[in-house]
């Protein structure tokens, strides 16, 4: 093989007893895009951090143009020619977009008190390249999500790195934004940069990468073209697991039963933006109801209105009582428990402590009983009992969040996007847990999902929410025929 731009050999990283990355190796040529893929917790992000020097490897080598850089501090690695595009950024609030790009162009010197005049022109050129030229004077707080990602991209390429690492390039972007980001990344390849894309989804980067490497539990499981990797037996098993099947409900709520939750003509305004427009839904006792809709459709707003977290017009009744004027805490005590999209775990507390807090109002006996039942439902939590919640993988955190909500013994459990950012193998476990709740308990569930394949098997009824309005309601069996095409 001719001189690789970036060559990684035998990279290993241990966190305590956990081996996050074991003996990973690959090389990227100039003008090549490598996709590093794997489900959450597979160690792919750790590999990226090891290359950038954010974490120090326990063993292995990282060579940039033949020079060993493993173990160097991050700023030296950056200056040697590696740039990174972070998934989440924390921009400075008082600085404009242009000033952010200028920052990335400054020399790391304590003696240069005034910026080089050429910096301004360079910053503007970079801004137009990534499509930020119209928002140069704005502050990050006012930018759309895609523009914040563009800003990250602009900063990463400002120093003209010869290797670019991109974390989850397309997360949260619309199809047209994905197309323009893909174009930018192809531009890096055309310039002869070596590019590493880290993603949990093969499909999303398949069209872009020259080669892909799949990881699972810290180890390499497949490498080759995107097609080869997608066809690989082990990859399919890791990603697809068993198929998700609809669980038969022993008994569902009947039309005769009075609704447990009745939302009637609810509207919510955020400033001038209409987040919910005259929405009405009902959830009967023991029923599983799914509200499906794309990001921004208003699902979270609807749930927050029910939980008393946002002011609304219209009426919401729970068990025949109107909730207007009831505080969020009182609503939770009355039996509506929301498991938010952001999970809101106590990261510095152990799994056991998080669960205990959830059951703080129960008697000791009841708490022990509830805990035993939950650990049976989510066995992985028993293994992780003494670990801090923040150190769990995404899927485990989601299970903990659901378990903590269940510790409160809710009458109505609201699950907001439980599948967000989770790998298919985790979805399967979640799906089984929901199926068990569905078939063996009395609980009523209101599920908000963007992932229809996940939502359908767990619903007695479906509502489709689009642009703040309910546009369809019906049983899952009729969804594909009547609403499926519209939804996608």
């Amino acid at each position: 093989m001719s001189a690789a731009r970036l060559e990684v050999r035998g990279l290993t990283k241990r966190f305590g007893g956990l081996v996050a990355v074991r003996d990973i190796g690959f090389s990227i040529q100039p003008g090549e895009i490598l996709g590093l893929i794997g489900p959450n917790g597979s160690g792919k992000s750790t590999v990226m951090k090891l290359i950038m020097g954010i974490e120090r490897p326990n063993a292995g080598s990282v060579r940039l143009n033949g020079a060993e850089i493993a173990g160097w501090p991050t700023h030296r690695i950056a200056r040697a020619g590696i740039g990174i595009v972070f998934q989440h950024s924390r921009p400075l609030h008082r600085q404009t977009v242009l000033e952010h790009i200028k920052l990335a162009l400054l020399p790391d010197s304590l003696l240069r008190l005034a910026a080089d005049p050429a910096v301004e022109g360079k910053a503007r050129a970079i801004a137009s390249r990534v499509g930020l030229e119209t928002v140069l004077g704005r502050h990050p707080g006012t930018l759309a999500f895609a523009d914040l990602r563009r800003l990250e991209l602009a900063k990463a390429i400002a120093r003209e790195p010869s290797v670019v690492l991109v974390d989850e390039p397309f997360a949260g972007l619309t199809p047209s934004e994905v197309a323009s980001f893909s174009e930018l990344i192809r531009g890096f390849r055309a310039e002869g940069k070596a590019v590493l894309l880290v993603d949990h989804n093969v499909k999303s980067v398949a069209a872009l990468v020259d080669r892909a490497l799949a990881m699972y539990l810290g180890e390499r499981i497949a490498e080759g073209t995107a097609e080869t990797v997608m066809r690989d037996e082990q990859v399919r098993r890791v990603y697809l697991g068993g198929s998700i099947e609809a669980a038969a409900r022993v008994s569902t709520g009947t039309d005769a039963a009075s609704p447990l939750l009745a939302v009637e003509g609810v509207s919510v305004l955020y400033g001038k933006a209409q987040a919910l427009d005259n929405v009405s839904i009902t959830v009967r006792e023991r029923e599983f109801v799914s509200v499906v809709g794309l990001n921004g459709a208003g699902k979270t707003t609807l749930f927050n209105a029910v939980s008393g977290l946002v002011p609304y017009r219209g009426t919401i009744r729970f068990a025949e009582r109107t909730l207007a004027g009831t505080s969020a805490a009182a609503i939770a005590r009355a039996g509506i428990v929301q498991c938010p999209e952001t999970r809101e775990l106590f990261g510095e507390m152990s799994v056991a402590e998080n669960l205990e807090l959830g059951g703080a109002h129960l008697t000791n006996a009841a708490r022990t009983e509830q805990l035993a039942w939950l650990l049976d439902l989510f066995p992985i939590l028993a293994e992780r009992a003494r670990q801090n919640a923040a150190t769990l993988s995404g899927g485990e955190q989601q299970m903990l969040a659901i378990a903590r909500a269940l510790m409160m013994r809710p009458r109505l459990l609201i699950l907001d996007e439980p599948t967000l950012g989770l790998a298919p193998v985790i979805l399967e476990q979640l799906s089984k847990a929901l199926a068990r709740l569905h078939t063996t308990t009395e609980i009523t569930v209101l599920l908000g999902e963007q992932n229809v394949t996940f939502a359908l098997p767990h619903a007695d009824r479906i509502y489709v929410l689009e642009h703040a309005r309910i546009i369809w309601e019906g049983p899952p069996a009729r969804f594909a025929a009547e609403a499926g095409a519209q939804y996608l």
């Binding site: 501090p73 991050t74 700023h75 200056r79 790391d108 008190l113």
Partner: protein, 307 residues
């Protein structure tokens, strides 16, 4: 953009000119209050460089100030050096103190560093009390040299120290170095991924903050004619400095001057209230922080940004 730079410059020059002319009208008593307030403003500005820009919460600004003040007082007493040399030694001692403080700051996260800074103040206070033979302990020590016996002269010196400090610290904060420092304070991982040596920039900020704190601390005791724990070391003073900086506005540098003058002046105006005066000043500070979390100057800047 916020207040156009040049308008800010005009306003600042105007304020300095007016401040310089105040001795023509004001009584020696009021000038004395303002003199102390100006040194206080320097303390608050130095603190804001660490808190607002480097992102380091130093609960013990008086560690650096006290080091400078007591170094100057001891040298003046024991060696009898002229004042400028004592002040230079104070700057050096504070610089060493600042670097010592920076070491834990670069290793510890969040509240732990804050605790270290608190302990640093208590340690300094204890050392001063233990070596009472040299330092005068809890009573304090007088210094043989004073800047001047004339209130106007003392006032002008303080104003000069304040103005020079403000120009240098504000310039630093608005320069490319200030921008890098702010990035390093906000997200050190991202800043180092852009090629910036975060440790180097934070050490620089600690050094600069320490030197200004030490110099202002030394100047204050040469104005007062004495150094005492109650005035330059006590944690109550540290808290006042922090309140002054936050009151004026985080990440503004100049806000510290407004906050410092406000706190000292309000304390004097309300003196007839006796013990109540501290309470009233604290209550006002609390209200400002609750309703204008950006501080007085920060609030004004934000308003002009939104226009």
């Amino acid at each position: 953009m916020a207040l156009p730079r040049f308008r800010l410059l005009q306003v600042s020059v105007l304020i300095v000119v007016i401040a310089a002319l105040l001795p023509l009208w004001l009584s020696a008593y009021i000038l004395g209050v303002l003199t102390t307030a100006y040194y206080f403003g320097v303390f608050a500005m130095s603190w804001d460089l660490l808190f607002g820009f480097a992102g380091e919460v130093n609960f013990g600004p008086t560690f650096l100030i006290g080091l400078g003040a007591y170094t100057a007082a001891l040298i003046d007493n024991l060696l009898g050096w002229p004042i400028p040399f004592c002040v230079a030694a104070a700057a050096l001692a504070a610089l060493v103190g600042g670097l010592l403080l920076a070491l834990p700051a670069l290793r510890l996260r969040g509240p732990y560093f804050g605790l270290v800074t608190l302990v640093a103040v208590l340690l300094l206070q204890n050392v001063i009390v233990i070596f009472a033979h040299f330092t005068g302990g809890e009573i304090g020590m007088t210094v043989p040299d004073v800047l001047s016996v004339d209130a106007g002269t003392n006032y002008w010196i303080a104003l000069a120290v304040l103005t020079i400090s403000a120009v240098l610290l504000f310039g630093y904060s608005r320069s490319p170095l200030g921008l890098i420092l702010q990035a390093a304070g906000q997200d050190p991982v991202e800043a180092s991924s852009l090629g910036f040596n975060v440790a180097k920039h934070k050490l620089a900020a600690f050094s600069v903050s320490a030197v200004f704190s030490g110099v202002a601390g030394a100047m204050l005791i040469f104005y007062l004619g004495s150094a005492s724990v109650d005035v330059v070391v006590d944690l109550a003073i540290a808290v006042q400095i922090i309140i002054a900086a936050v009151l004026g506005g985080r990440r503004t540098i100049l806000g510290g001057v407004i906050g410092g003058v406000f706190l000292i002046a309000a304390g004097q105006v309300l003196l007839p209230l006796g013990q109540l005066s501290t309470f009233v000043v604290s209550a006002i500070a609390l209200l400002v922080i609750l309703f204008f979390p950006d501080g007085l100057l920060g609030h004004a800047l934000r308003r002009s940004e939104q226009e």
